[in-house]
Each structure stands twice: as C-alpha cells, then as structure tokens.
C-alpha cells in the first residue's frame, strides 16, 4: 500500500511539473513553446514527457539556447509549480532551478497531494 502511494505521488508530482513547464514556457507564446520542445528533443534528446525524470537536461537546454535569460522561464516554471502544489515560492539568489524542483518533490512526498483535478 505504501509503495502504491509513493508511486502515485511521484506520478502526480511529475504531471504537475509537466504542466508547470508548459505554463512557464507560455510566457514566450504557444508557437515558441512548440519550437522549444522540438529543440529539446532534437538537440538534447529530451522528450517533453521525460522532463520530470531529467530536469537537468531541461536546465542545460534552456541555458544553451537562451543564455542567462533561461532563468526567466525557470522562475515562471517554479512559480507555477509552487502555486499548483500549494507551496510558497521564495526566490533565493544562490539556489538553482534543480534544487527547487528537488525540494518541491521532497516536500510533496512527505505530505498528501490533492487529487490531480484540484490543481490549478
């Protein structure tokens, strides 16, 4: 039962993270978002659905493409992710995108998640 719960929580977190990435990329518009996913797949061998397993590749891909501007997209992703998980997003200068994702994953693993339909 515990194992099933853990797997369910991981799947829930992964789908919430994917939605947050979708929404974060939307600051650039739909067609740019499609183009960025195409680029991630072609140049970084990263399919959209694999992003939760490998957020590092997303970070590298965005930074290679947009330079330091990638942080703007990543901030939007984290804001959306935290809003969906009911967490408070506090930006810290020294913390990386990956650190925040790991922290959010850990925090949601120890608390009960809302049913997916209740995420904004």
């Amino acid at each position: 039962m515990g194992h099933i719960n853990k797997t369910k929580k991981r799947e829930d977190f992964d789908s919430v993270l994917l939605k947050a990435v979708d929404e974060g990329l939307m600051i650039l518009g739909v067609s740019v978002r499609i183009t960025v996913y195409h680029y991630l797949k072609k140049d970084h061998d990263l399919r959209r659905e694999d992003i939760p397993k490998n957020p590092e590749a997303l970070d590298i891909g965005l930074r290679t493409l947009f330079g330091s501007g990638a942080s703007v997209i990543e901030r939007h992703v984290l804001e959306r992710l935290c809003a969906k998980l009911g967490l408070i997003y506090e930006e810290k200068e020294d913390e990386s995108f990956i650190h925040y994702i790991k922290e959010a994953r850990q925090m949601t693993a120890t608390q009960s998640l809302k049913p997916p339909s209740q995420y904004n």
Binding site: T35, F66, G69
Partner: protein
Amino acid sequence: MSDQLINKVSHGLMRSPLYREQNELMRKLACMLHGAFFGTLYELRKEKGLFGVWEYATKGISHILAGYLTPLGDAKIEDILLDLEKTGVYQGLELKHEGNKFTFKIGKCSFAGGKEGVHKQLSPLDMPCPFALFVGGYIARKNPSKRLYAYPSIYAEEGTTTEMELLTPREYEQKTRKLAEMAEVEKEASERLYKVKA
C-alpha cells in the same frame, strides 16, 4: 587642480552651448536609433516570430557597426555610456565582462515604462533590446576576429538585461544556423495554429 575647481570647470562645461549641443545630438541619436530599431524589430517579431527576429537582430550587429558607430571614432564605450546617461534617456547603464561573455544592463530606459511604455508589448524574455545591439556593435568592432552573438533580453518594467557572447566565426555560424532552423519550426507551428483557429 582641486576637486572643487574641477567641479566648477565641469559644471561650467555642462552649461556651455557646445556641451548642450552635443548632449542634444546624443539624445536625438539615442531616440532615433531606439525608435527605428525597436519599430523594425517589433514588426519583424510579429511577422517572423521570436527566433526569426532574434536571428535578424544578432546578424544586424555587423550592419550597425558598419554605419552608425563610425562617427563615434575611437571613443571608449564607458565614455559613450556616460554621455548617454547624461542625456537622461537612459539611467543605470552597466556593462560587465567575464571571459567572452558580456552582460549589458539598463536600469531605466525612458521608452520602457508606464502605460505607453514599449516593454508592455513584449514578453519578459524577448527579442534583443535595440540599445544592447548598439553596444554589441561596439564590442564587435573592438574584436574584429570574433563575432558577437546576442541572446534575447530580459525585460523588466523599466529596464533590460542582455547577455552577449564573442564567438569564433565557426561557433557563430553554428548558432545562427540553429536560430534559422528554429525560426522555420516556429513559423510552421504558427501556421498550423492559425489553421486550427480558422
């Protein structure tokens, strides 16, 4: 010469007709370049998409250096930026350099903020800022064996931050080819979306 005297002399110079004339000329140049570049890039953005306009903008750096920078002669970039700040059009100009990377920051741009400000028409990350392209042109002119590649600018309500990088001609070629390829993908995606909406 004492500091007091220097201040008096420089204050006097600032009030001199020649200084005022130069300042006015610099202000007009800044307004004209910003208006022309922003207007052109903004229209291109609608037509070509982000990657298309980005490609045009980064390639445009070489055109800028060929024409507009020549009258500035051998003036140092720090002096040009100081002169531009004195016009009141831009404030808080900062050019940082680390290795091959440059970060150009505009704390406050007269064209940016408010209801009529041009930044409202853009995404928080969008086409390279026209003034950053001008500065990029200067960097490129000082490094003729390299090519300058500009990344999209981060737009805040009042200012921008733009990263630029000096690349070898080969690296530059690879990056701009990638932009052209992505511009094609974006164009196709945009056309598909347009058809679905229609």
